[in-house]
Amino acid sequence: MAVLELRELNKSFGGITAVENLSFQVDENQILGLIGPNGAGKTTVINLITGFYQPTSGSIFFEGQDITFSSIYQAGRIGIARTFQNIRLFKRMTVLENVLMGDKEYNLRPFFSVFDFLKGGKTKRKIERAYAILEELGLQDHAMKRAGELSYGDQRRLEIARSIATDPKLLLLDEPAAGMNEEETQLLIEDIGRIKNRFKAIIVVEHDLSVIRQLSHKVVAIDYGKKITEGAPEEVLSHPSVVEAYLGGSNE
């Protein structure tokens, strides 16, 4: 069974169509790359899957369950986590607290979490778990720093750490390498490779095609909200329409 399936998904804002008749599916243990030029509607797709936007028509299935019109928190609860193109951390909180924010048990019953004050052991376990996630991404030394103080690359890493903490089945990475140099990008690719087994599937939206080439098992290319082609990375990246969409008809 597909982890995620989009069926003829449409989204328009007023008269502008951002996503048109888009269908694709992500299978278990798959990393799917979603590519396309600027303004192609990649982030819109992420927003539709995570409930940030409601689709105009079409449907979205997550593990066979219809989640087309689920709200943001419902999408979060069933196991879809995301990062943001323009990093959105809780900047005033510490790095450790940001990761703890992903803890589902607290988030499902916020007002019961006050009784954890009495259960020191449980609180300790939760903090240790968050710390282990930080270690996995090499952020442990920054645990007590404020999230806003981290370097750009570490902020991106922390966003990933925070989504890991929600124990998701599906992770959506929205341009994880944006604003990174080649070296940082390479480190990021290694990080993603190391954590990928925590998830059933990952969708990577990316501009940097080297990331897509190294990570994804399958690529979907879109432009103007429509699917151009999909398939194996090498196939898609050399597809004439994709090359044209990226190079803008050899004008550059």
Partner: protein, 288 residues
């Protein structure tokens, strides 16, 4: 007269906290005077007309107001920013007008006969609410409230039902305001609807903004300062209000985050070893 200052300061601290708990989720309420009115009138009617003991009447006021807060909060909190502010102003105005038109509680003429608020009772109320807020500030709930304030939609994507949490915080704020209202009514012995107008709400908001919204001490400090400062500059006579206004502007210019703006970290770890939350008291984060 010192006892009068202590009681009024306690009431104002409670009012500041009633706004603070709502502001923790990033909502600004200028409607808390309405909930103060509900607390004042409900408890007043119960003690004067039904011979309820004061503490029981106060608790009833809190319960009624909390429910009213949840009821009003549910539709109102779908709005944000300026729109929410306008709605809460509307709540304050309509509750005031509503009371003015209920002859049973004296209408515009006011309602009297309450008594019994003592220094001890007010201080106990402040301590109880303080302990509850202090407890919350050490738990994941504090983090969740702050996360909603920082970025509602991101908090939601972590699986938090943001509307539910915001409505609950609003209702708790309404309850605290009602407690203050009940104490106020039974201290003043005679209350008028205009005691609970929008101006009262704005004052509460000012306590919090002046004191800082990052921890529970800030609003309390703001309330104490705003209650006692006008008395200390009494010698300025008719210039008093002007000087007071200028002082507020200056304070906000130099401390935009409030006078006590530190944030207490809710979880600590050092070299992989978890330390007790209590060790991390009052980190001076300064202007975050």
């Amino acid at each position: 007269m010192t006892s009068a200052y202590i009681v009024l300061t306690c009431i104002n601290i409670l009012l500041a906290w009633s706004v603070y708990i709502i502001m923790l989720t990033g909502q600004v309420s200028i409607g808390n005077s309405a909930f103060m009115a509900i607390g004042a009138y409900v408890s007043g009617v119960l003690t004067v007309k039904f011979d309820f003991p004061l503490v029981a009447a106060l608790m009833m006021g809190v319960i009624v107001s909390t429910m009213a807060g949840a009821l009003i909060g549910f539709p109102a909190l779908r709005l944000k920013g300026v729109y929410l502010i306008m709605v809460t102003i509307g709540i304050a105005a309509s509750v005031e007008t509503l009371i003015q038109n209920i002859p049973y509680v004296g209408g515009v003429g006011g309602f009297g006969g309450m008594f019994g608020t003592t220094v001890t009772l007010s201080v106990i109320c402040v301590i109880i609410v303080c302990l509850i807020l202090l407890w919350i500030s050490r738990t994941p709930l504090q983090r969740i409230l702050e996360a909603i304030r920082e970025d509602e939609r991101v908090a939601a994507s972590m699986g938090i039902n943001v509307t539910y949490v915001k409505v609950c915080a609003f209702a708790i704020g309404a309850g605290i305001a009602a407690l203050a209202g009940g104490l106020y009514a039974h201290y003043m012995t005679y209350i008028y609807p205009e005691n609970f107008g929008i101006w009262a709400s704005i004052q509460m908001l000012l306590y919090v903004i002046l004191g800082g919204t990052n921890n529970l001490w800030g609003p309390a400090f703001g309330a104490v300062l705003m209650t006692l400062l006008p008395e200390y500059i009494r010698f300025l006579d008719e210039w008093r209000v002007t000087v007071f206004g200028v002082l507020i502007v200056v304070l906000l210019l130099f401390r935009p985050e409030g006078l006590l703006s530190f944030r207490t970290v809710t979880a600590r770890i050092r070299n992989g070893r978890v330390s007790k939350p209590a060790e991390g008291k009052g980190d001076q984060d300064g202007r975050a």
